[in-house]
C-alpha cells in the first residue's frame, strides 16, 4: 500500500496525468485482496439535494463509477441506485444500521431541511411513520463511523439555503453533534469524493481545515493556482466574461474560494470555468451562493466601521484560515455569516437581520483585522526570502509548463 505521503502527492497531482480514481483503484483492489482493508458499508442519504453530486460521482473516470461501487465501497442504500424499492429498500437501510453499527459510513447529499421540524423533506416510510431527513440523520449519525457531507448543500446549506431559505436548509454539521467531513463543491468533483473516501479507508481522517475540508483538495485558493494568475499580476483584466485576461473584474471569486479546480479541471480534465472564460462563482466556498452573488460583479470593498476591507485582505485571511486550521472560528463567523450575508452586495435587504450585537461584531472585526495584519506582515517577510529561492529562469519555465495542461490533456 502507498505511504500516506505518496498518497497525498498522488491526490494533489493526479490531474496532471490521468484520473485520480483510475490511479487509486488498483491500489485499493490490491489492499482488499491482501485483506489489509475491508470495504465499508455505506448509506447514502439524499436530503434537500438536486442529485448533482451523485451525478458528478457517476462521472468518475476510467474506471467508472461501477468500479468504484465494486472495488471501493459497499453501497447498501442509495435510492438512485437501489434495485429494491419501498419497504424492501428501507429494510436494507435499517439492517445496515443495526448490523453494522459503529462501522458504516453515512454520506449525505443535499442540505438538511429543518423548517417545520423537517417536514419539508420526508425521505422514507418505516412501518406507518413518515421519516424526515432531519430525523433520519439524527438517528443514524451517532451510530456511524464517519459522517461525510458531499457537496456544498450538505456541507454548508448551499443553494438550498439561499436567502430567504423557506425550507430552513442547513449544513449537516449544524444539526448533528458528530464530527463531519465536508467535501464541498456544487457539485463536488468526483476526485475529491473518491480521494477522501480512499484516505479514510487507508489512513483514517485526512488533515482538514477549519471548515473540515480535506486540505489535500481545498488547501489553496483558485486564485493561487489559476492559469490566468499572471494576467492578474500584470493588470490585464477581461471587461466581459469570455474575454482574454484575468476575470476578477467580471466577478471571479477565485481569490476567496479554496479548491484545486485550475489544476485538476473537470470531466476528465477537459475544462474548467475560468479556462472557458467564465468567472469562478465560488461554489465550493462556505458562503455560496449568497456571499458570492452577484456572480458577475467583482467582490466589492467591504465598508466597516473600522475601515475598508478589500478582497485581497479577505483572501489573505481565508488563506490564513486554511493554514491555521483551528482556533479561528471567530473569523469564520465574521466572514460567512456577517460579511457574507450583510455587507457583500447580496440579496438580503439591508434593513432586516442586522447583527444582533454591534459591540460583539466590532470586536470580531477588530480581531479579524489584527489577524490580517499579522498575516500580511508574515507574507511580507516570506516574500523577502522568496527572492533567494527563485529558480533559474529556464528551469522555472519547465516547471510552469509542466503544471500547465498541455495539448494531450486538452482533447
Amino acid at each position: 500500500m502507498l505511504s500516506r505521503r505518496d498518497f497525498l502527492k498522488l491526490c494533489m497531482s493526479a490531474a496532471l496525468t490521468a484520473g485520480l480514481t483510475e490511479q487509486l483503484l488498483p491500489i485499493m483492489r490490491q489492499a482488499f485482496a491482501e485483506r489489509k482493508l475491508t470495504k465499508p458499508p455505506v448509506i447514502w442519504l439524499e436530503l434537500g439535494s438536486c442529485t448533482g453530486n451523485s451525478v458528478s460521482l457517476d462521472n468518475a473516470v476510467n474506471p467508472t463509477f461501477y468500479q468504484v461501487l465494486h472495488d471501493m465501497i459497499d453501497l447498501r442504500y442509495h435510492w438512485l441506485l437501489n434495485a429494491a424499492q419501498g419497504e424492501q429498500a428501507v429494510q436494507a437501510l435499517m439492517d445496515t444500521v443495526e448490523q453494522e453499527s459503529g462501522n458504516f459510513w453515512i454520506v449525505v447529499e443535499g442540505s438538511v431541511m429543518t423548517a417545520d421540524n423537517g417536514r419539508f423533506n420526508h425521505i422514507f416510510l418505516r412501518g406507518n411513520e413518515m421519516v424526515t431527513g432531519l430525523a433520519a440523520l439524527r438517528e443514524f449519525a451517532p451510530r456511524a463511523k464517519h459522517v461525510i457531507a458531499v457537496g456544498t448543500c450538505a456541507c454548508f446549506g448551499g443553494p438550498a439555503a439561499a436567502y430567504p431559505n423557506p425550507g430552513g436548509a442547513k449544513g449537516v454539521w449544524d444539526v448533528i453533534k458528530q464530527p463531519v467531513i465536508n467535501i464541498p463543491g456544487c457539485p463536488s468533483h468526483p476526485d475529491w469524493i473518491t480521494g477522501t473516501f480512499s484516505h479514510l479507508l487507508m489512513y483514517g481522517l485526512p488533515q482538514m481545515d477549519s471548515y473540515n475540508r480535506p486540505k489535500m483538495f481545498f488547501g489553496q485558493t483558485i486564485h493561487d493556482l489559476c492559469q490566468r494568475r499572471q494576467q492578474y499580476e500584470d493588470g490585464i483584466f477581461a471587461a466581459f466574461p469570455g474575454e482574454k485576461g484575468c476575470l476578477y473584474k467580471v466577478g471571479c471569486k477565485g481569490p476567496v474560494t479554496h479548491a484545486d479546480c485550475p489544476k485538476r479541471q473537470w470531466n476528465h480534465y477537459v475544462n474548467w470555468p475560468v479556462r472557458a472564460g467564465a468567472p469562478c462563482i465560488g461554489c465550493a466556498g462556505p458562503g455560496f451562493p449568497d456571499s458570492t452573488m452577484p456572480f458577475y460583479e467583482h467582490l466589492p470593498d467591504v465598508h466597516t466601521p473600522l475601515g475598508a476591507l478589500n478582497v485581497k485582505k479577505i483572501g489573505a485571511a481565508a488563506v490564513g484560515l486554511g493554514a491555521a486550521a483551528t482556533g479561528v472560528h471567530f473569523i469564520t463567523g465574521v466572514m460567512t455569516r456577517r460579511v457574507g450575508k450583510n455587507w457583500l452586495e447580496g440579496t438580503k435587504p439591508q434593513e432586516t437581520d442586522q447583527p444582533e450585537n454591534l459591540e460583539q461584531l466590532k470586536q470580531e472585526l477588530d480581531d479579524l483585522i489584527r489577524q490580517q495584519n499579522a498575516l500580511i506582515s508574515e507574507s511580507k517577510s516570506l516574500a523577502k526570502n522568496k527572492v533567494k529561492r527563485r529558480l533559474p529562469r529556464t528551469f522555472r519555465k519547465k516547471v510552469v509548463d509542466f503544471f500547465r495542461p498541455g495539448p494531450k490533456h486538452r482533447r
Partner: protein, 458 residues
C-alpha cells in the same frame, strides 16, 4: 380494497411516495406525492437578473443545462439581446450532450434493473423476486452494455464540458451565447466524442431497448394514460429561432395543434400550498407553503393546459414531431426516448458542422434597468418554462414550471388525476408486496422531483 405505499420509489431523482390501490390484481387508483420542498423561486427575488441562469440550474443536477438555457432565454427576452449564431450552436451542443447523458443514464442506471437482475452485490440486492424474463445470456450481455453505457454517459458529460466548462452545472451559457471559444481544437474535441457516442447509440443502445421490449411485450399495453401530449420545442436555430423539435399539443393521440402558453395554469387544491382557488398563470404570484393542508398529498402543483392534464417528454415530442406514433405505453416511452437520443446525436452533428470556427460565441451587452421575459424549452423530460421580471436590476418575479410537475401532478381542482396517476390505472400487479410493475410505469416517465417542487411568494 388495499392501498399500498411505496416510499421511497427508488431509482428516480428524489423522494416520491406512491400510494397504489390494488383490486383483483390490478391498479385501480393511485396518488403520487413528492416530499421535498426547497422554494428556489423565492430565492431568486432581489437577486441580479444576470445570475438567474447560474443559480436556477442548481434546481437540478441531472438536467442542469435545461434550466440554464430556459433562464438565459428569459434573460435574452428581458434584456433585448440575441445569441450570436455560433453562440446558439454552442448552447445547443452543450444541451445535446446533456440530454444524451441523461437518456443513457436513465435507461442503463435507473430503468434496466426493473427488467434485468443486476450483480449480486448491494445496491443491486435486495431486489424484487419476480418477473425477470430475460435468458441469463441476454441478461449478462445487457449488464455488460450497462457498463459501457456508464462510460458513454461520462463521455457525454465530457463533451458538455468542452464548451460548458464543467458538468453537471455548466458555467458558460450567457444570454448572448457561450463564453468558451469555438476554436477548431474545441470543435474537434466535441465532435470526436459525439461520433463515438452516436455509433454506440445506433448500434447498441437502441437494440438493447428493443430487446427489453421483445421480452416484455405486455408493456406495450400497460401505462397508457390520457394520450394528451405537450411540447414547447427545443434547439432553436440561430437568427430564425425555428426549433428542431417543434412546439405543439396533441389531444387524445390526435393531430398536433398549435400551442398557446397563455393557457398554462397551476392548480393547488391537492398540493401543500395555501388556498384552493382557481389555477394561476405562471406570470402571476403564487401562494406560500402550508404543510398542514388537509386534502393535500404532494409538494407538486398541478399544471394544466386549458384544464387538461397533459404528458410531456420524448414520447410527447415523438407524437408532435411525427417521429414516433406507435402508441402510448411503458415500452413506447422507452423506445421513443432511445430513438430521440439518436436523433439528437445526429442533430448535434449538424450543429457542429454549421459552426464557423473562431467566430464570436457571444457578444457584450448591457442589460436595461428593468425588463421581463419568458424562456421556454423542452427539457429531457418535458416542458420547462422560466418567467422572469426585474426592476432596477433586482428580480421582482420568478416562476418556473418544470416537466415533472406536468407528468407527476397530483389531482387538479376538479379532482382529475395527473398523467402518471392515470397511467398507473389498470396496471396488472402479480406480487402485491413488490409492485414492480407500478415502478416500471413510474420510471418510464424519467421522473425528477428535484425540480418539480417550487413556489412563488411575494
Amino acid at each position: 380494497m388495499a392501498v399500498q405505499t411505496i416510499f421511497p420509489v427508488t431509482r428516480i431523482h428524489e423522494p416520491l411516495r406512491a400510494d397504489i390501490e390494488v383490486q383483483a390484481g390490478k391498479v385501480t387508483d393511485a396518488w403520487l406525492g413528492a416530499h421535498l420542498f426547497r422554494g428556489m423561486e423565492s430565492m431568486m427575488l432581489n437577486r441580479d437578473p444576470r445570475d438567474a441562469a447560474l443559480f436556477t440550474q442548481r434546481i437540478c443536477g441531472i438536467c442542469s443545462s435545461a434550466h440554464s438555457i430556459a433562464a438565459s432565454m428569459a434573460q435574452q427576452q428581458a434584456f433585448g439581446v440575441h445569441p450570436t449564431p455560433t453562440g446558439q450552436h454552442l448552447t445547443n451542443l452543450i444541451y445535446a450532450a446533456d440530454i444524451i447523458q441523461n437518456n443513457l443514464r436513465h435507461f442503463y442506471v435507473l430503468v434496466l434493473y426493473d427488467y434485468v437482475k443486476g450483480p449480486d452485490i448491494p445496491p443491486y440486492v435486495p431486489r424484487a423476486q419476480t418477473d425477470y424474463r430475460l435468458p441469463p445470456k441476454v441478461s449478462e450481455e445487457l449488464l455488460q452494455h450497462a457498463k459501457q453505457a456508464a462510460r458513454k454517459a461520462v463521455q457525454a458529460h465530457e463533451a458538455m464540458a468542452v464548451f460548458g466548462a464543467k458538468a453537471p452545472m455548466q458555467q458558460t451559457i450567457l444570454p448572448t451565447g457561450v463564453t468558451e471559444q469555438a476554436s477548431g481544437e474545441r470543435i474537434m474535441a466535441y465532435s470526436s466524442i459525439l461520433q463515438e457516442i452516436t455509433e454506440w447509440v445506433e448500434n447498441v443502445h437502441i437494440s438493447d431497448v428493443l430487446t427489453i421490449a421483445e421480452y416484455y411485450q405486455d408493456y406495450y399495453s400497460i401505462g397508457a394514460g390520457y394520450g394528451n401530449f405537450i411540447s414547447v420545442g427545443m434547439f432553436p436555430a440561430p437568427l430564425t429561432g425555428d426549433r428542431s423539435f417543434p412546439a405543439g399539443l396533441v389531444i387524445n393521440q390526435g393531430q398536433p395543434e398549435t400551442l398557446d402558453v397563455n393557457h398554462f395554469a397551476e392548480e393547488i387544491r391537492y398540493s401543500w400550498y395555501n388556498g384552493d382557488g382557481a389555477g394561476h398563470a405562471p406570470i402571476q404570484a403564487g401562494p406560500g407553503p402550508n404543510r398542514d393542508k388537509p386534502e393535500a398529498y404532494s409538494w407538486i402543483k398541478a399544471p394544466r393546459y386549458k384544464e387538461l392534464p397533459v404528458e410531456c417528454g420524448p414520447l410527447a415530442r415523438g407524437f408532435i414531431s411525427g417521429d414516433y406514433r406507435r402508441g402510448v405505453s411503458v415500452m413506447d416511452r422507452l423506445i421513443a426516448r432511445a430513438r430521440e437520443t439518436l436523433k439528437i446525436c445526429k442533430l448535434a452533428q449538424g450543429f457542429v458542422a454549421a459552426i464557423v470556427p473562431d467566430t464570436p460565441s457571444f457578444q457584450r451587452y448591457t442589460q436595461p434597468d428593468s425588463g421581463a421575459g419568458v424562456g421556454l424549452t423542452d427539457a429531457m423530460r418535458g416542458v420547462l418554462g422560466h418567467w422572469l421580471e426585474y426592476k432596477h436590476n433586482k428580480v421582482t418575479h420568478y416562476q418556473i414550471i418544470t416537466p415533472t410537475t406536468w407528468n407527476f401532478s397530483p389531482r387538479d381542482n376538479r379532482g382529475v388525476r395527473g398523467p402518471v396517476e392515470q397511467a398507473l390505472i389498470g396496471t396488472p400487479i402479480a406480487a402485491e408486496g413488490e409492485l414492480i410493475e407500478a415502478g416500471r410505469v413510474i420510471r418510464s416517465f424519467d421522473p425528477c422531483f428535484t425540480c418539480a417542487v417550487h413556489l412563488f411568494k411575494k
